[in-house]
Each structure stands twice: as C-alpha cells, then as structure tokens.
Amino acid sequence: MGKLTFKGGVHPFEGKELTKDKPIKELLPEGDMVFPLSQHIGAPAVPVVAKGDHVLAGQLIAEAGGFISANIHSSVSGTVKAIEPRTLATGGKCNSIVIENDGKYEEVEYVKTKFEDLTCDMIREKVKAAGVVGMGGAGFPANVKITPKNPEAIDYVIVNGAECEPYLTSDYRRLLEEPDKVVTGLKIVLKLFDKAQGVIAIEDNKPEAIAVMEKACAGEDRISVKVMKTKYPQGGERFLISAVTGREINSAMLPADAGCIVHNVDTITSIYFACIEGFPLTKRIITVTGDGVKDPQNFYVYLGMNYRQLLEAAGGAVGEPEKYISGGPMMGFAMYSLDVPVVKGSSSLLVLKKDEVKDLKATACIRCGKCGQACPEHLLPAKLAVLASKGKIEEFEKLDGVECVECGSCSFICPAKRPLAQYIKSMRKQVLANRRKK
C-alpha cells in the first residue's frame, strides 16, 4: 500500500518512545474541579447550576450558548463552590464553574442505546447533548461537524490518527487499547452519510496501531486504514484531507466543502460513548511526558482536574524543568503555572528540562528558503514575517498570510532561528480581527 503524504512539512524529534508502551491508567482527581465555560470554538456555554448546588457526575452544568457552542458536564459528584474566572492552560482567564469533589463519584443514570437502533437524528442529538467537541485541540463542536449543509456531498469520514505532534501518544494508546470503540464510533458517523467511506489515517511510525486497526476493521467494507508518511503536520486537517483524497481546502472552506468530515481519534471515541453508552464527554486521555517528568504516562483523566496532579501522578518533575507545555512542542501552549484545569482539548502535559528556545538568538535571514519548503500551505514565511514585523498588513494579505495554519514548521526549520511563526501569527490575528469588525 502506498503511503500518503503532502508537500512541505518537517521532521521534529519524535519523543514518542517515552510513553508509547505505557498503558492508559485511570487517574482519580483530587481537590476542586474547574470547568471553564469555553472549552470549544464558538460561544461560551451558559451555566445551569448555581453556587451551592449539588451535582452528580455526568450532570449538565452548562449548556451550549449558541449554535456553535457545546454543553459541559461535571465529571465528578460534589457541590458547586463558585463560578469565577480561572486561568487556563493557554494563559488567559475564563469564567469557570468550580466544583468541590465529594469523592463519591455518584453518577446520573446513563441511557444505553444499541448501535442498530440509532437513527440519524438520535446520533446528532446525542452527540450534541454529550458536549462532544474536537479533541485534537481546536475544539470545534462535533455535532456541528456532522451536520453539514449538504450531507449528500460527504464521501469521506476520516478518523485522524496521525498524531503528528511529537511526544503525544494518547491517540496511539486509544487505537491500541480500544480499537473496537474507534471503529464503532466511525460506523456511527458513517450511518449519517450513506455515500461516505470511512478512513482511519495513521502515520507509519505507529505500525502496531496500524496492525491493530486493520484487524479491527477487517470485514467492514466501508472502512479502511490508510497509512501516512510520518511528517509534521500530517495531522493538520487540511493536509490530512489532501493526503487521503487529493482535495485541497483553504482557510475560507470547511472540510465538508471537500466532501470530508474529519474527527480526531478521541473525538470519535467520545461519539461512541455518547451514542452507545450515553456518557457525556467528561473524561479524556492525556499524555504526561517529556524529559522533565520522572515517570511519563498516559492517563485517563477526569476533565476539570488540575495539571499539577497530573505531574505528581507521573512521579513529579526531574529537577527544575524550565518549561511546561500544554499540548505538543510544535503547537502547544507554554504555561506559567500548573494550576490550570484539564479541558476537552488537553492532549498532553509536556515538561521539558531545558527551554531550548529561551537562549536562541535570531540572526540575519540568509534567504535560504527552507521556511517556504517546510510550509505546508506553500507560503513564503520569510517574506510574511518581514511584512508582519513592519506592519504591512495589505501586502501580508496579498501573500495569503491568513492561510497560515500556525503549525510552526517555519520557525522550527529556520537556520537563523528567526521566530517566523510568531511574527506571522500576531499579524494574522490582527487581520482576522479587522475582518470581523467589517
């Protein structure tokens, strides 16, 4: 079978060895649980509980605040302690529901449904009710994704198992340990789209996962496993679609415009839980890893728990690590504090002994063009960065700077260590903000 790929990209140090053979361990939370009302793209959720209320695990505590928004459920039983702004892994503050965990884990009653009995409306309703959002990081509400304008036009449902970010192994472990749930989750989404074929896309650095998934979908004539070349950012939605289907989309388009629905591995599993088991999204897998962690692990955790507890559960820090990152090293967020909650999009806590970018000094651009070769969007990052640094917004837009997916490949590859992505990201935000104003 030919390996699929895209043009551009880079090959960072993978670091997956640290946790790829560590089975998923469930971790019970300690202390207060924090549920930010914005764990997704779109309008913040609106609280439906008040201070002092008693809640059960799995109970709705905030409901979607608009069409593009998502429900939020408590992952534990306990008492609502406060609704107040709390710091997130991304550094900003967000109004959050704080619940004092009573440690009893009393649950609401979950309604199970058989796969055969699921209708299209039920699936969409259940996914919406469960508050499932894209768990690869972007956090796009899943029910919106599976409700495209023209369902007839969808001919691919792709499960994104590329996991191209270095260090992360949460999707990999899920594929290995619960392949049937992934396949059933995919089959549920396929029910919505009669003409679509299901594709499970995995990078070729995960041969075990490929073998397991091929076995799991043997006999499923609508589902196939496709092998991708290992290259960052293969897991970027646009590049995954292009590798699988040959179709290209730009920033103004949705995957559905190319006939595709793309879901991350953990998202598709959450869809399975929502539809079959009736569970809302209250748990996820998170990789705690990096050379700054004593005992790197993959944990199955309760949303709302504290990052500090994750680090302690993984044996604590080695010495005094210089950097704590939520997510992968290429697109993750550096955190100034570990007192932040696990949210739906938290894929990893990466702890690095040394902050290798701290002491880097940017030198003159030698116009080697490596950034352009690495850019999966085929942009000219060196030029965009110069335009951004000079505030030349019109020229920036002319060179399609807005198409940037902020993957960071240009900064990664730059031999002069110029922070290209940083320049481009900041101007891109400005352009997008200006467009919203209009």
Binding site: R238, M335, L350, D355, T363, A364, I366, E403, S411
Partner: protein, 320 residues
C-alpha cells in the same frame, strides 16, 4: 506557588540546522575544487586561498567592530566569500590586488548594504568583476609554468592570438588540467562539490539544472559556426566559470530567488545571458556578468512567481 514558569509562543523546539552549518557545508563542498586548484596551479593557489579567506574574515570583523556592531564572522559567510574569490582569480594575481578584491566584496557589496542577507549582488562575483575591470591585465593573465596564457574558452572563441594553438581536449577540460582561474577549471571537482550540496539539501537542483540546460540548448542552436556541435557544447559547459557559477555562485541564497519557480526562471535567464555574452560578446567569458545582471532581476522574478498557496484552486473532483 509564587514562581512562574517561563513561557514563549510555539513551536517550543527547533531544528539543529544553523546558518554556520550551512556555510560549513558550502566550504566542504568547495574542497574538491580548491584541492584541484592547488594540484593544478601549485602552492601559489594555496597561499591565495588562505589569504583570501583570512582577509575576508578579518575585514568583516574589523568593519563590524569599528561600526560597533556585533561581530558575526562565526557564521562563516565571510569565509565562503573569501574562498570563492580566491577560486575566481588567476593564480598569478598579485596578493595585494586579491586583498583589494576581498575588501570590495565585504565592505562595498556586503556590509554597506546591511551585511549578511541584505546584499543584492553576489559578493564574490562582485569582486571578480571589480578586479576584472580594475586590473584587467592581471585578471586575464592565465599563463603559468604549466600552461600558456590562453584558457580553453579563449581558444574555442578563436581570434588572432590563439589561432595557432591546439584546440582543447574535452577530457582535459572535464578533469581541469587547463589554464583558468584557481577553482574553475575542473568540472568534475566542482560537480562532486555540487552533488554534495544537493545531497545535503543545501541547494536545490532547480538553478544549476535550468542554468546549464538552457545554456547547452543556446549553444547548440546559436553558436556561430558550431550549430548542433555536441562536442563544442560540452566544451563550453566545462570551460570557464560556468560550472562553478552554476553550482556555487548562482545558487547563493541571498542573491537568488527563494520561490521554486523563480529559481527556474533565474536559471533560464542565466543560461540565455551567458550564452549571449560568450557567443556574441567581446569576451570569451560571460558567467560573472550574467549572474550579476540576473541578481538584479531577483526581486522582480520573486514578485511574479509567488507560489499558489495550498487550497487556492478549486478542489479536484476525484484523485484516488
């Protein structure tokens, strides 16, 4: 917890590639051509190579020191310029003139325009042309103990003073046992270095391939009296500064287009101009002037060859 961790924007990791590593690769790639130059022309070549590198590094360091700038000679770019200048002069060039050339390249062409990455003209070629114009007599004197003064290209071009001389053999030109500048005579030595750069992905094949192919086609079609003379074409390719220019000068990052299609257009323009200069110009050689001229076209070429960004065309119907 009062202490805050350090934060920065993603990505949080970087590749190991550095500017000095790239420059070091270029220096390594020039070893075969330099070594052959020393073999071919003797110790005088080695002396000029060493002095030219040392002079360029020293001049850049001194300039930066005097201008209260950070001294950046450790990026090795000045060393590359120094080596290339030495390879581009005849072995008999007086050392004082060589150093004047070095100073011109570093101070006038490079530093006055803002230093590394800012010059619009290849510094080494700028120096070669400057020396050629200022000290024409010395820059065109290729006579050594081993060779008479005429380069193979001059003989190919013909003229009264070379009419009596035997036509050069292709094999001599390929190996490099001919008269010429220190580093340009051996096509094979340059090719080895060029392949090293291609393998290490320091350069892309776009410029050298389009340059040499266009030049070859031009010679085949337009060479006066030698239309479709393959032997003549091969000699023209191996002769003079073409190989050195195509692999080491035209591919200079700073003064060549960064866009993929721009590189091809650049190569084609170089091939045409070099052919034109060599076949119909006053001199036998035309590479330096062709490259310098095309250096000036780079901003224009880049402007018209901005790559189409991903997903800009309509999605294809089906591509299984």
């Amino acid at each position: 917890m009062s202490e805050l961790f350090s934060v920065s924007t993603s990505p949080h990791v970087r590749s190991r590639q550095t500017t000095s590593a790239i420059m070091l690769d270029v220096l390594i790639a020039l070893i075969p051509a330099s070594a052959f130059g020393v073999y071919n022309f003797g110790l005088g070549a080695l002396v000029r190579i060493i002095i030219s590198i040392a002079a360029c590094v020293a001049i850049e360091a001194a300039y930066e020191y005097l201008m209260h700038q950070e001294v950046t000679v450790r990026d090795l770019s000045a060393a590359v310029t120094g080596l290339l200048i030495a390879l581009n002069v005849p072995v008999s060039l007086p050392i004082g003139m060589l150093i004047i050339g070095d100073a011109f390249a570093i101070v006038i062409v490079k530093m006055l325009f803002g230093g590394l990455g800012q010059n619009f003209m290849n510094p080494a070629l700028g120096a070669r042309c400057f020396l050629f114009i200022s000290f024409a007599k010395w820059m065109t004197d290729f006579a050594t103990d081993a060779y008479t003064g005429a380069t193979p290209l001059a003989i190919l071009k013909g003229g009264e003073e070379v009419a009596e001389l035997a036509q050069p053999e292709l094999m001599d030109m390929f190996l490099g046992t001919t008269a010429g500048t220190i580093g340009e005579t051996s096509a094979i030595a340059i090719l080895i270095g060029g392949i090293y750069l291609l393998v290490r992905k320091v350069i892309s094949p776009r410029i050298p391939v389009s340059y040499i192919a266009t030049f070859a086609a031009f010679i085949l079609v337009f060479a006066p009296g030698h239309q479709f003379d393959f032997m003549y074409m091969l000699k023209e390719i191996c002769g003079g500064g073409l190989m050195l220019g195509a692999f080491f000068m035209a591919t200079d990052y700073v003064t060549s287009p960064i866009t993929p299609n721009g590189k091809i257009i650049f190569g084609i323009a170089l091939g045409l101009l070099t052919g034109l200069f060599r076949m119909f110009g006053a001199n036998a050689e035309g590479v330096s002037f062709a490259i310098i001229f095309c250096n000036l076209l780079v901003p224009l070429i880049e402007k018209i060859t901005v790559p189409k960004s991903f997903g800009k065309k309509k999605p294809e119907k089906e591509a299984k």
